[in-house]
């Protein structure tokens, strides 16, 4: 029985990890684009971006997930745009998570960029560097150093937030654990698999914590 449960939980946790990884891969760069939008000198773009960020951060991720998954099918005459089954649920979850997390990341980036003293940029300009060179050679690393602690917080939250995708029946680890309570693989009424999913989260977040401590130490050589 133990091996059956672990096998099912592993499979669920793989889905959790996939959603986690895809969200990071999408949201980390998209967040930067949104951050630049929210700092744009072109005020309509700036206001629009900040409005979007306000809406996304101001409403529950669960609600956004439900809207993205169910609403297109009700509005479009061609029916739901999502592929059927688990791939469709995963795609919808990925999009909702990427948009949601990109908005949070963008605010962290904005703080990080604005926290780099103006003098740094001016020193680069006076030395004849292009805006691009200034961003990549000067500002970026100083910004990364500033954002590592808030980003690690947000990323650890993301690990746990992936369980929200269960609301559209994405078969992540909590869904897999809960299945043994409802009845699955010939077992039903088993409570411990659900509790046991916590161990997966704890271990994975432990690894992430070690990783972020390492990154912070690596960036400790300058101030």
């Amino acid at each position: 029985m133990f091996l059956t449960v672990i096998g099912a939980l592993n499979e669920g946790f793989l889905q959790t990890l996939k959603l986690f990884a895809v969200t990071l891969i999408g949201a980390i760069p998209l967040g930067l684009v949104i951050a630049f939008g929210s700092m744009s000198r072109f005020s309509p773009l700036r206001y629009l971006t900040r409005l979007v960020v306000w809406i996304i951060r101001g409403t529950p991720l669960m609600l956004q997930l439900i809207i993205i998954f169910y609403i297109p099918g009700r509005v479009l005459s061609s029916g739901s745009p999502w592929p059927s089954g688990e791939p469709g649920r995963f795609l919808a979850s990925s999009i909702a998570f990427i948009i949601n997390y990109a908005c949070y990341f963008s605010e962290i980036y904005r703080g990080g960029i604005q926290g780099v003293p103006v003098g740094q940029q001016e020193a680069g300009e006076v030395l004849g560097m292009t805006k691009r060179q200034i961003f990549f050679k000067i500002t970026l690393l100083q910004m990364i150093k500033r954002i590592v602690p808030p980003m690690s917080n947000e990323i650890i939250t993301l690990v746990k937030d992936t369980s929200i995708a269960r609301i559209i029946s994405l078969q992540e680890v909590i869904w897999a654990g809960y299945a043994f309570l409802k009845g699955s693989h010939g077992y039903s009424g088993l409570v411990w698999p659900l509790f046991f999913t916590g161990v997966y989260y704890l271990l994975f977040n432990g690894v992430l914590t070690l990783f972020f401590n390492y990154v912070e130490r690596r960036l400790d050589y300058f101030r």
Partner: protein
Amino acid sequence: MSILEVNHIEKHFGATKVLSDISFSLEKGQALSIIGSSGSGKTTLLRCLNFLETPDSGTISVNDHVIFDAADPATQQEKEIRAKRLHFGLVFQNFNLFPQYTALQNVTLARELLAKERGGESKADIEAAGRELLAQMGLADRASHYPHQLSGGQQQRVAIARALALHPDILCFDEPTSALDPELTGEVLRVIRNLAEQKTTMIIVTHEMAFARDVADQVIFMDGGLIVEQGDPREVIDHPKEERTRQFLSRYAEN
């Protein structure tokens, strides 16, 4: 022939006029000191020369070539401004060294980026030149230190080396010792004095009156965005003609 010619520069911040009708010229190999109280427009003037601010009117010429004309947008194109900036070097009050780079990397970074774009110097040549500049600043043994491991005076000397690395025609100093502890100003002033002796063309905004008098070939006293008095430093500082200059200098003497 003047290396720098500034004509009728004006600058407003909103409704406030911070520079009005600024004109002066500078000969190659000369040092110009700009003195005046805080808010008199000295720093803004330097920032205009370095294209960190855009004057509302007036022209700036280097080597008889108009590099900025407020009335001619063609002289203000982003791409060209980059090249024009290289006529000037700027040493900031707060050093503004790049914290993630060593002293040597601070000095070589911009030159390496330029070399990569235009071809030419090898990385090894640039590094050798950077080490030599640091040695000239008395910092040969600090090349691999990061800014936070250096004292304020050392940081400012790295910043001077960084500005010199690009061989600017005119090196500008914006109150180079104002952010330093009093006991550290001497080492920075000594370096600037050496540069003056080597006939580096310089503009120095400073509150160090004795230094301005000794080092500069020309002094400008500014007040309220205007040039009130300019000329030989011994004249302007020791025998000011204008009442405002006298008041400013006597306030200084009291302190």
